[in-house]
């Protein structure tokens, strides 16, 4: 029926090698690398170490810090709002808590603020697309929590630190691992359909870099299931939600220097709204749609680093923004879905990575940066498979899952993956898939403390500003482990909600609002000679065809 369905003839010939080597490989596992070997592999092949992709920031609170070029471009940009033409005299929404973002961290924060006694009418969630449009719904593999008798939060701590190259902020990791079982219990109580045995025991799998089976999942729709349940509960509680209304700038109180609200912008009508809030929670997610180093991405359409931009302009400290996570197994072919995610759960279930010669080249459950580096090496050294559209990839031998775990395992445990490929004529129960790393996650971000208060480079909190989820840095160090992001958003989303509720109770007077913090920032931009046409946040990426843009005129 469609064009480009299934594998072309030349690729089918190469699949024979995978099939022929499978019986032997079923008995084999590649050995685990030592910490030293991992380090060497990552330094040589990981995109973080590719020259020319990063630079030092020239303005702002973290001047001199190395970040990816695409991030530096946004931070060295003019605000989208014109300081002198925004009318701050009339407030459209005067609330206790403003939550910016519409994913799992935002929903968790709103719920825990409600549980702590904040009137839902006094909480406003503002998000750029629909409530629930976030990377959360794309998280497939699972959520970590050390809740089996053979496991412990201590081991979860060690795994997370090791995966992050020991660059994580220890107190944040401790919060992550000790809150984890409680979070699972909370979600279970809300009605999340976790995979369980008949007696209620959680079915748990191994994730890359984890020493215990610790991944709780809901088939391969784990993030979607969590998101839709907590979203449903937020709406049941009557929290106000503004969809298609991203924040484009924060507001500050000139007296305290703290954050006191935001300028929101209706993406469809272009009207702006002024929000005054006692507490503002940034839950805006990461930067995947910036396509760092030219990579395709697994990320949601709205992952454009808006939160980083807004927080930096009020003086937040950024950390580990010179590192990004490239998920080892992105789709390399079919071209139409290139860069989309093939969940790590495939490897948890036993699928091996295989080069063009049918050889194993890495232990599949090493941390992600290690596996990604190994795949890049195989392709760079000529052991990859050239796709029909000229890209390169290695095989992910999915059919062996059913051989290892029994027929039907793939369709039962990986329905989203089965669908993703069968739509393009590839049946993963009998055919392997071509895979190559894809931009997946912002490892670093805004620095926070265990109460999710946003910190300045001096270590002092910025009054009135909290942050949770992918927008923050420190939890995952320089590389996040599988299953720790769904955990991050719920653990720190909850903590943000609790802190916000406490701050609301302690704050009796309404703050003042201004855009004063932009004066100093724009002076620096002026001095640097940044062209006025370069503006941020960008809100959405622009994928329009070049030909159309060249011929575009604005009449209406």
């Amino acid at each position: 029926m469609s064009i480009q369905t299934g594998y072309p003839h030349e690729i089918r010939k190469l699949i024979k090698v995978v099939e022929e080597t499978r019986p032997d490989r079923l008995k084999m596992r590649y050995r685990r690398l030592s910490l030293g070997e991992r380090e060497e592999l990552v330094r040589k092949w990981h995109p973080d170490y590719k020259p020319g992709t990063k630079r030092a920031l020239r303005i702002g609170s973290c001047k001199g810090t190395i970040v990816y070029n695409e991030v530096a471009d946004l931070l060295e940009s003019w605000p989208a709002v014109d300081i002198d033409s925004i009318d701050l005299s009339s407030i459209d929404y005067d609330v206790d808590i403003l939550v910016i973002g519409g994913g799992g961290a935002a929903a968790s924060a709103a719920l825990w603020a409600v549980y702590s006694g904040v009137d839902p009418e006094n909480i406003l969630i503002a998000t750029k697309l629909r409530f629930g449009d976030a990377n959360t719904v794309k998280a497939q593999g699972g959520i970590q929590a050390a809740d089996r008798p053979v496991d412990s939060p201590v081991l979860h701590y060690l795994d997370t630190m090791g995966g992050g190259h020991f660059a994580n902020k220890p107190e944040l990791v401790k919060a992550l691992v000790t809150d984890a079982p409680f979070i699972i219990k909370w979600l279970e109580g809300l009605g999340v359909m976790f995979d369980k045995t008949g007696e209620g025991e959680m079915v748990e799998y191994s994730g890359g870099g984890a020493c215990r089976r610790r991944l709780h999942c809901a088939k391969d729709y784990t993030g979607l299931e969590i998101m839709r349940v907590i979203k449903d509960e937020v709406l049941n509680r009557g929290v106000r939600v503004l969809e298609f209304t991203p924040a484009i700038e924060l507001l500050t109180d000139p007296d305290s220097g703290g954050v006191s609200g935001a300028v929101l912008w209706n993406i469809e009508t272009c009207e702006y709204y002024i929000v005054r809030s006692k507490v503002t929670i940034l839950a805006t997610g990461g930067f995947g749609r910036l396509h760092l180093a030219g990579f395709p991405t697994t990320n949601h359409y709205g992952a454009t680093a808006d939160g980083i931009v807004m927080a930096y302009r009020v003086g937040a400290n950024l950390r580990d923004m010179d590192t990004a996570q490239y998920h080892p197994t992105g789709v390399a072919w079919p071209e139409a879905i290139r860069g989309e995610l093939i969940t790590e759960k495939c490897r948890s279930l036993g699928a091996q990575l295989v080069n063009v010669h049918g050889e194993l080249f890495i232990y599949e459950l090493e941390p992600r940066d290690v596996v990604a580096s190994a795949i890049i090496r195989e392709c760079a050294e000529g052991r990859g498979i050239v796709t029909p559209t000229g890209a390169c990839g290695v095989w992910l031998d999915l059919p062996m899952i059913d051989e290892v775990r029994g027929p039907g395992t793939i369709k039962k445990n990986l329905p989203a993956m089965y669908r993703q490929f069968i739509r393009h004529g590839i049946d993963i129960t009998v055919e392997p898939v071509l895979t190559y790393p894809t931009l997946h996650y912002q490892n670093g971000g805004i620095e926070i403390d265990v109460y999710t208060r946003v910190l300045k480079p001096s270590g002092e909190p910025i009054p009135g500003l909290l942050a949770a989820g992918e927008v923050t840095g420190g939890v995952h160090g320089r590389n996040r482990l599988m299953g720790n992001s769904l955990l991050d958003i719920t653990v720190f989303g909850r903590r943000a909600g609790l802190t916000a509720a406490k701050l609301v109770k302690e704050t009796s007077v309404k703050p003042k609002i201004s855009l004063g913090h932009l004066r100093k920032y724009t002076m620096e931009l002026e001095k640097l000679g940044v062209p006025k046409t370069r503006k941020s946040p960008i809100v959405l990426p622009d994928y329009r065809g070049e030909r159309v843009l060249l011929k575009s005129i604005k009449v209406l």
Binding site: G191, M202, C211, K219, R544
Partner: protein, 239 residues
């Protein structure tokens, strides 16, 4: 191999052969091999509605289309369906419906609780149009019928893979609000019918009693070289 051209779709390499698609009746020439979503972007649309995760999970881009010479109305996701020559299409990003509010703690996992909130469920005429409209290929009607019978487990598991795109609700002659109905059904099943994880309760209690506090505090203060040793020597369970 076909000659390549790089489109704006961030590294999407597509053949140079052009096809014609009709977006809400207007014809656009786009390169062959793109998804409907990328084809529309190539044609110059900067999407705000009808776009979300771009990976088949969020339900923002349900699309109805007809192929040339056919009367059959086909269904797909714009981010997952390849544009074809002569295709007439529309993206239907929204299905109008208000979510009824409820307190999950006060409900029972039975047909009565559900029908009280969604009385229209009983109007199902078993026409199966919902099932035909599902871009996920789910047995939607079977789930609705299971709800009426009070088989919550069957219903919840049948529509677990639902991405809430709302196409079934747009097509349904009984005007059922499937998106919200199914959300309630899944929560009732997850909360009341799936057995609770006992090992989880035990661990939560242990943590509340501070069982791991001392060891974690100690680890937090451990120098990195020593942490590396502990990490390298930790015992690894079989995957």
């Amino acid at each position: 191999m076909v000659e390549k051209t790089l489109t704006q779709s961030r590294g999407s390499v597509v053949g140079k052969k052009m096809i014609r698609i009709y977006f809400m009746g207007r014809a656009y020439e786009v390169p062959e091999g793109l998804t409907i979503m990328k084809a529309l972007e190539y044609a110059g649309f900067r999407l705000v509605r009808g776009v979300g995760c771009r990976g088949g999970f969020c339900g923002a881009c349900p699309t109805a289309y007809r192929l040339p010479g056919e009367y059959k109305l086909r269904i797909g996701l714009a981010c997952q369906t390849i544009a074809e020559d002569g295709m007439h299409l529309v993206i239907l990003p929204y299905s109008p419906m208000e979510k009824p509010r409820y307190n999950i703690e006060e409900l029972k996992p039975d047909a009565g609780s559900i029908i009280a909130l969604f009385p229209e469920v009983t109007r199902c005429v078993a026409c199966n149009t919902c099932t035909k409209a599902c871009p996920q290929g789910l047995d939607v009607m079977d789930a609705v019928q299971a709800i009426i019978r009070g088989d919550i487990a069957k219903a919840a598991n049948t529509i677990f893979d639902c991405i809430s795109c709302g196409l079934c609700s747009l097509r349904c002659p009984a005007e059922i609000r499937h998106v919200h109905l199914f959300q309630l059904v899944r929560r009732l099943y997850g909360k009341y019918i799936l057995p609770k994880a006992k090992h989880l309760e035990i661990r939560v209690k242990e943590i509340e009693e501070g069982k791991y506090e001392e060891e974690l505090e100690k680890l937090m203060k451990t120098p990195i070289e020593e942490l590396k040793r502990l990490y390298s020597e930790r015992e690894i369970e079989k995957a």
